[in-house]
Amino acid sequence: MDDTSMVGLMGRVTGTVGPGLVGEVIVRVRGGAEHFLAYAASGSERIERGTMVTVVEYLPPRTVYVSAMYGS
């Protein structure tokens, strides 16, 4: 249960991520699924709902930076 375990996990966007928006991703972690506030790893990226993302950075307690998994 350390911090680094979050990085690299797959997640799904449940609230649009983008500049000026506070997004939301749901990630499988600790045997369940939890949602985290999400921001785009590259500042200008906009990720729509339902897109699969990879957690690039974890900022405890509940913030992650994500980038779209299969290109953008």
Partner: protein
């Protein structure tokens, strides 16, 4: 001996029980929905940096030294808090919003540590605190939305909620699972008005559909009525036709008897007529034989007799005519002879008279008055006769003043003769002046002249 054994066993059991009790005191297990916060001793920290000062155990058991360490439980259960907030929307419309926030303590150790530091003794008051925080945030959230968004766009609502209070809740170690707006009180009637056009459209459509359905139903009904009426009519017509046939047959049946009677009677009458005709013929012939032939014979007889008589009369008349003509001729010859003689005599007389007139004219030239008076005196009876002759032609004379009237009239007529005397005088006077030609002027006094002219000529 057995006493000792029993004691030892009892002691052992007791020791075991004590041991179990001690273990029970020292061993704590975290349930799935809670986190154990253990503080009090320097202990192995699981993945947490130095300085946190307490240990967090979730989902498993751990050994706690009673008296040395304090163990507290932090519930990870879901909590909810009701919100009643007066807000103003993005468009500036005031609303009263009732919502609910569902939140829990985050499952990661950072969140648990944050929450433990803030709420460990105030877990019962957590909802109240969150309410206080959210009452303010909800204003921000609603302020970022329009009424339409709030009603329809959940995505925007949750987005706004995250933007407004996501990081804030991170600080508290809480995560917001759900923010829902239950009820929006709308004192200005904006929402009602918003729905009015749609409502009207829906009502219109409903009415149209209803009317259409009614129309179709009515059409179908009327069609059905029409069919029913048609069927009824057809059946009535058929019934009437059958009834008519039946009646006809009945009437025919009823008439059959009288008809046969009538036919029979007609036959009788025909035969009787024939008999009568024959009788009439017979009588006519009889009459011809009895009456006409004798009458013809009689007539022929009479006619023949009459013709004979007529012939006889004609012969007689012809004979008489011949006789009369002969007599007439003889008489005419006689009369002619007589006339010739008389003419001769008259001529002689005329000549003599002419001489006399000549003589008289000579005398007249000498004394007019005397001659005329004498002449008038000589002719007075003829004058009176001529005046009276005016009444001779009157068949019926009604005289209104009686016998005196008649005398009057006669007197007048004779006076006319008297006036003739004066007239004659004048005539003679004019003759004296103009010599011959007095006859031409007499027309001027035509009324009185005729008696005086006619009288002298009519002399026999």
């Amino acid at each position: 001996m057995p006493m000792e054994v029993g004691f030892i066993v009892g002691a052992a059991v007791g020791a075991v029980l004590v041991l179990i009790g001690a273990f029970k005191l020292m061993w704590r297990v975290a349930e799935p929905n809670e986190a154990l916060i253990i503080s009090g001793s320097k202990h192995k920290l699981e993945g947490l940096e130095e300085g946190m000062g307490f240990r967090i155990v979730t989902g498993r058991g751990t050994l706690v030294t009673p008296g040395m360490q304090a163990v507290r439980k932090l519930s990870l259960d879901l909590n909810q808090t009701e919100l009643h907030v007066d807000c103003v929307t993005h468009q500036g419309i005031p609303l009263k919003v009732r919502g609910v926030v569902i939140f829990k303590v985050g499952d990661d150790f950072v969140s648990i540590a944050n929450a433990a530091r803030r709420f460990l003794d105030q877990q019962k008051l957590m909802a109240e605190r969150v309410h206080t925080v959210f009452a303010g945030h909800l204003r921000a959230i609603v302020g970022g939305l329009t009424v339409e968004d709030m009603i329809r766009d959940r995505e925007k609502l949750t987005g706004q909620a995250r933007a407004a209070c996501g990081t804030e809740m991170e600080k508290l170690g809480l995560i917001v699972d759900s923010l829902q707006i239950h009820e929006i009180e709308d004192p200005t009637g904006y929402i009602k008005n918003l729905s009015a056009p749609h409502l009207a459209a829906v009502r219109r459509d409903a009415r149209i559909a209803q009317a259409e359905a009614d129309r179709l139903a009515t059409e179908a009904e009327q069609l059905a009525f029409g069919r029913m009426a048609e069927a009824t009519r057809d059946s009535e017509i058929l019934k009437a036709g059958y009834q008519a046939e039946q009646d006809k047959a009945n009437a025919k049946a009823r008439q059959a008897g009288p008809l046969a009677d009538a036919a029979a009677r007609q036959e009788v009458v025909v035969q009787e007529t024939r008999v009568a005709e024959l009788e009439a013929q017979r009588r006519e012939q009889q009459l011809q034989a009895d009456v006409r032939k004798p009458a013809d014979a009689k007539a022929y007889e009479k006619r023949t007799l009459a013709e004979a008589e007529r012939d006889a009369r004609i012969s007689a008349a012809e004979a008489k005519a011949t006789e009369t003509r002969s007599a007439g001729e003889a008489e005419a010859a006689a009369t002619q002879a007589k006339g010739l003689a008389k003419a001769e005599a008259n001529r002689a007389q005329g000549l003599a008279e002419a001489d006399a007139i000549k003589a008289r004219a000579a005398a007249l030239a000498e004394n007019q008055e005397a001659v005329v008076a004498q002449q008038l005196a000589e002719k007075w009876p003829e004058i009176v006769q001529a005046g009276a002759s005016a009444f001779g032609n009157v068949d019926n004379m009604v005289v209104l003043n009686g016998a005196d009237g008649v005398a009057d009239m006669l007197a007048k007529a004779l006076t006319m003769g008297g006036t003739g005397l004066g007239l004659a005088r004048q005539l003679l006077a004019s003759m004296n002046q103009n010599g011959q030609g007095a006859n031409g002027t007499s027309a001027l006094n035509g009324v009185a002249a005729p008696p005086s002219q006619k009288v002298p000529v009519e002399e026999k």
